[in-house]
Amino acid sequence: MHAHDRPRTLYQKVWDDHVVSTYQDGTQLIYVDRHLVQEVSSPQAFVGLDAAGRDLHRPEAHMAVADHAVPTTERTATLREGLAASQVARLSTNAARHHIPYVPMTDRRHGIVHVIGPELGFTLPGAVLVCGDSHTCTHGAFGAVAFGIGASECECVFATQVLRQSRQKSMRIRLEGVCPEGVQVKDVILAVIARIGVGGGVGHAMEFAGSAVRAMTMEQRMTLCNMAVEAGSRIGLVAPDETTFAYLKGRPLAPTDTEWDAAVANWRELASDSDAVFDQEFEIDVSSLSPFITWGTTPEESAPISGRVPDPAAIDDPRVRRRVERSLRYMALEPNTPLSGIAIDRVFIGSCTNGRIEDLRSAAAVVAGRKVHPRVQAMVVPGSASVRLQAEAEGLDRIFSEAGFDWRHSGCSMCVGMNDDRLLEGERCASTSNRNFEGRQGRGGRTHLMSPAMAAAAAVSGHLADVRDLWPEGTK
């Protein structure tokens, strides 16, 4: 039935393992093993389900948690009224009605869906995992086929546990070499997006491979896969290996005993065959990279920190020139201004991109012994309660607090600006999040994307700055 003797990519293997049926036009029904449910994309799906009088096909395949709209200042009794409160309450009620496991805001396991899925072992290699959130590609770091869907598709998964889909093409990004000091995975993925563009990966599952990827921790692989969608790919992937297994072993929802052994044996077979054919391939030598920073309003509008704001007058293509002019107008930047030195008002360290323990460690290493610039308001929002507790056990919270950072509770916070954490009109922010779109962090707010270490450097400098000038000995 399946042409399994032909060499296949990681994506194709996981896909083939989940085909329920094939239609005449070639599209297929794909089985969904796991569904993460959050407050923003689920209310309308539940309304649809109720209107049609349908039940969930399999309640235990879902896990619900509110992350987008929750406050990060306090964890108790603050969410009693208003739109955000109603939305969180609705999720909790819907989950209870449909017997979906629900992680409350006050629980030690709370956090951003894309941070707690892996932490709890909900995310596994070889699984098909979906969520009504575009950054679901994060889970591909484990060798899962994980992708974001709309609310209508969430409703379909609730009712049927399948989705009708076309198989994507395959793309491989080879990352070779070792990152120089001061260069982090965020810089690598920004460089990838700059290379292929925000639409470069459309229609493709994007596999990251190469020596640099093999050497990465799971946290780093998650940062990498998280931003595949900013390059147009709904799906990012990394082949599971010993690093993956070591991370997952013992997680609450991970398999145990003989089932664990059988699972690992299966997961070892998932890597792309050596002779598998990719529709597109790119290679980047990460040892040639320097810290990246966005200057515009799409994630591809970026440059090394040593660079300057582009000059539209020097751009021949009128369409590109118009686009750059528009971005610079919104960002209030003058052509040819050196990037390093642009004054900032706010710093945000957190999000499903860079809100994990290693991100906080690298930022803290830069901040240690320094103070947040008096003009700057800076905050750290751990990606989960567990990250927060770990950071506190390591004393990172004290480093941040003593430097003048706000130390917050977990949530999406100022990455999406749906709670009270927002930029004011005209404010400029150094942010470790994933989108620098117009108004993303608040109406009229201006976002520069960068790594956690670079955001820390900006916080203590009061302006965009090259972290390599502040780099502490012996940190990664």
Binding site: E60, T106, D133, R435, R440
Partner: protein
């Protein structure tokens, strides 16, 4: 879902690339939980104009009644929020023509009676010119053609099953439940043997028995 067959309308246009879903539907309005009435928030920031300035294209006649929107490259990139499509549909838009789309946005359109059409840059430019001349454009789904005044006919691609779903206004979930229930069950039985660790069951969730219960007043 309302069936979609043929659209005959002038077209509004946006001369801008990379119009992401945050521009189409800013995040702060995602707190609204009703699908209906979201059109008022579509392109919220773009529609904020000072006295004397030209209103946003979807607010000024004759384009305020357009059922077709002609955009640029990378339309609807970014977030998966289906609110972006609900808001556009609420404004009366039923067809969006662009060079390329964000993938999730593209898929979401079909679930809501909105037809997204991809055209190469040159062809798109001709449609854009017709839009600028305020000419009526005919988008026909059965024949997969766009007809411009002067009888130029442009053909476009659309997946067969998505086309059918739009034409018939199909309830996809009902179709799957009707036709594929047995296949799903058979798959699940096979997977239980082949890869049992992928099948989370009530026993696994026992580790969550200590979850606190939140009390909210809605």
């Amino acid at each position: 879902m309302k069936p979609l067959d043929k659209i005959q309308s002038i077209a509004a246009y946006l001369d801008e690339d990379a119009v992401d879903t945050d521009i189409i539907f800013p995040a702060r309005f995602l707190l609204l939980m009703d699908k209906k009435g979201l059109g008022g928030h579509a392109f919220h920031e773009r529609r904020r104009v000072k006295k004397g300035e030209t209103p946003f294209i979807l607010d000024r006649p004759p384009f305020d009644t357009a059922e077709i929107l002609v955009a640029g490259k990378d339309f609807g990139t970014g977030s998966s929020r289906e609110q972006a499509v609900w808001a556009l549909a609420d404004l009366g838009l039923r067809c969006i023509i662009a060079e390329t789309f964000g993938e999730i946005f593209y898929a979401n359109c079909f679930k809501n009676g909105v037809l997204p059409i991809r055209l190469d840059a040159d062809t798109l430019a001709r449609v854009r010119q017709a839009a600028g001349r305020e000419e009526e454009i005919v988008v026909d789904l059965p024949s997969q053609t766009i007809v411009l005044t002067g009888d130029e006919t442009i053909s476009y691609d659309v997946d067969a099953y998505r086309k059918e779903a739009l034409l018939l206004g199909l309830d996809e979930i009902a179709v799957i439940l009707r036709d594929s229930g047995k296949d799903i069950k058979a798959f699940e039985e096979g997977q239980s043997r082949r890869a049992p660790w992928l099948r989370l069951g009530p026993d696994k969730w026992k580790v969550f028995d200590d979850l606190e219960k939140e009390q909210f007043i809605e």
